[in-house]
């Protein structure tokens, strides 16, 4: 065990820190769940790409830096510490990117990865359907092979940022006689295709962060199939592994929130200390964020030694999502009667983005596989309990 960074790692940290200090927008960007904010974030992705910082773990030839997981963690620490913008293309970066590298053809990699890295293509994820949420194997949207293309019909829902995104990756039933997780295929679909209707869904915060997507005989070239026809479930499970695994939510994000929470508590200590439970929750928040960081470093070091990420990915997802709710609930309690104020309310003061963060934190235990599903996975695959 050696818990010190190498000289190379220290130099890497210094390099990204300097770049961020020079480039992070002084004024926060608008929410990427607005049209204007979305384009601002796309432009930021292009800026990151220029500095070769958009996909640090990708290989050099794809515009990345070939970073290992420890360097990725360092990058994330500096990124969040600098208050840099959220990543509008995270579905591409963290989910589809690694999936294409593992399952895509050379042509697909060449066509999609560079544009993903530069933010030229922003990706949405098309998995959930009205009757296929936690029960993803109940997918009904169809892909019918006709000559050299597929014809898509059906509906997807809760598709994050579909309103402004360029492409969608999703699962479609390519074998009409198949059941459950058999006969599904993983397809890449341009959202500007003829026959696609996108209906925005207003979220809890009033913005249209996700949408319903309707497919009415949409033609997609067969070359947009990832892997083999009918292999979609297997590929999607690998994607879900990336999502729940290390990269979707880096610890730095929560360490930044914990730091902000401690500062918020310090500023409002007189008020906050009237309720002793608040101080306890602040301590717990900091401890939780540190524990998550330590667990992630441990996993990264284990993977570097040739280990594999298994069902403990499900423990990650539960841990960070519950921690995020705790931190934001605590902030709401510290802010007390001002917590309800919108950021532009004259009396909002430092209530800032806590309200929006609170609302978003409540989605955490639901998206990327509900925490109930994760607990089933832990019980069955980690603890070996019998399936229902």
């Amino acid at each position: 065990m050696r818990l010190e960074y190498t000289e190379k790692q220290k130099r890497f940290r210094a390099e990204i820190r300097a770049w961020l200090a020079a480039h992070v927008p002084k004024k926060p960007l608008k929410s990427f769940d607005t049209e204007e904010g979305f384009e601002q974030h796309r432009a930021w992705e292009a800026k990151l790409h220029e500095g070769r910082w958009s996909m640090v773990t990708w290989p050099q030839e794809l515009g990345g830096r070939g970073c290992d997981l420890i360097e990725w963690l360092i990058f994330e620490e500096e990124y969040w510490a600098a208050g840099a913008p959220l990543r509008v293309n995270q579905n591409g970066i963290f989910l589809l990117g690694p999936t294409l590298m593992e399952f895509g053809t050379e042509a697909q990699k060449k066509k999609f990865l560079p544009r993903m890295a530069s933010g030229a293509d922003i990706w949405a994820q098309g998995w959930s359907e009205p009757n296929a949420g936690s029960d993803m194997a109940a997918i009904r949207a169809r892909a019918t092979r006709v000559g050299d293309h597929y014809v898509l019909s059906g509906q997807k829902i809760w598709t994050t940022r579909a309103v402004w995104a360029d492409w969608l990756f999703g699962l479609f039933r390519s074998d009409p006689n198949s059941q459950r997780h058999h006969g599904l295929s993983f397809l890449l679909v341009p959202l500007k295709s003829k026959g696609i209707t996108i209906r925005p869904i207003k979220q809890l915060n009033g913005l249209t962060g996700f949408a319903e997507v309707f497919f009415d005989d949409v033609k997609v070239p067969a070359e947009n199939l990832v892997g083999e026809e009918g292999q979609g479930w297997h590929i999607a499970m690998a994607t879900a592994g990336f999502e729940r695994g290390l990269m979707l939510r880096s610890p730095a994000r929560f360490q930044k929130t914990a730091r902000d929470l401690v500062a918020l508590y310090q500023r409002h200590r007189e008020r906050a200390d009237r309720d002793p439970a608040i101080r306890d929750a602040v301590l717990k928040s900091w401890m939780g964020a540190e524990a998550y960081a330590l667990a992630t470093y441990r996993t990264a070091c284990r993977l570097a030694r040739g280990g594999q990420i298994g069902a403990e990915a499900s423990t990650n997802k539960i841990f960070w999502s519950e921690l995020d709710v705790l931190m934001h609930e605590t902030a709401m309690r510290i802010l007390g009667p001002r917590a309800e104020l919108m950021p532009d309310a004259p009396e909002a003061g430092d209530a800032d983005r806590w309200l929006d963060g609170f609302l978003f934190s409540l989605a955490g235990p639901i998206y990327a596989g509900t925490n109930e599903i994760q607990k089933n996975i832990i019980a069955e695959r980690m603890l070996g309990l019998p399936r229902a």
């Binding site: 540190e290 330590l294 441990r298 832990i378 309990l385």
Partner: protein, 366 residues
Amino acid sequence: MDFTFDESQLAFRDAVRKFLLVEAAPEYLREIWETERGRSDSLRARLADQGLTAISVPEAYGGIGGDDLDWVLIQQELGYFAIPDSLTASAYLAPWLLTQLADEGLKREWLPNIVKGHARIALGHPINPLVADARNAGLLLLAHQDEVHALTPTQVRLHPNPSIDQSRRLCKVEWTPSAATRVCEAARGARLWAGVIDRAGLAIAAQLLGLAQRMLDLGVDHAAQRKQFGKPIGAFQAVKHHLAEVAVAIEFAEPVVHRAAYALARGEAHASIHVSHARLAAGEAAWLAARKSLQVHGAMGYTWEADLQMFMKRAWALDATWGDRAFHKTRIAECLLAEGAALGPGQTFDPGAPRTVEPQRRLAHA
């Protein structure tokens, strides 16, 4: 950056685990619980054969001169198997403390005996109202206003206090400090006792992790075997989720405990904070494991007959010794809420600035 244990540490842990699996079955522990002394010299001799009593003793005195990182995995195993022995006090805390003392005679008398497994040593500090294993001890190292005193059994009067955990043998110790018993003055003693509290804290945190894992395993075993409504109760989501929550708590407490071991071994300035974090995280995991495993066991869990009780009781008892939750939370708050505290992304492995809070002030919260 390498947050993994080396092969020899893992191999040692595996060997100890294998040994305890055979030698420390719950039936055997129950037998020891029932004895008057609550300790088995033959178990101690076999623990010594495994090398456990040599870890902390310097090579010059016949030991292997290991550090806190060498102990932490072993302590997890001692917790998992709920070993009823004063091994932590006798073979981890006492040799560390003795080694720091100037009294060469005391070292020569006790350190080689610790390695052989013959020495039982008790440590008394006001952070604990009672002294564990005082009755079996050949040497008592006691605190008096931060001084360290070394006493023989004839110099103390003991008043036993039974615990719900029958493996714990607690005594109120009556004694009179004198110049003859004093082996270290207060200024240095304060630092040494702080070191003892941190090492005891690490040992307890690691044992609590082991106990939590054992209680989880017992719950899983029961849930897989016990059938109701025509299937194993572990097939029901409500039961699955109880146990999955314990697995999550353990998963995120363990790296904190290992971080604390590293901080202590390297003498990092913030080591105490890591120890307190480890104590709180492991304590929470253990209490949760006890509660959930008991629930999954149903009425069986409420019996003396089910093994679960031994591990639950050990966890509840240990969690409040060498600093209760309030003590550890206070230490973390003092660090976290201090002016200019280093926190946020990128600080996780920062060894911290030299400590500014006097140990005595911290102990005042105990």
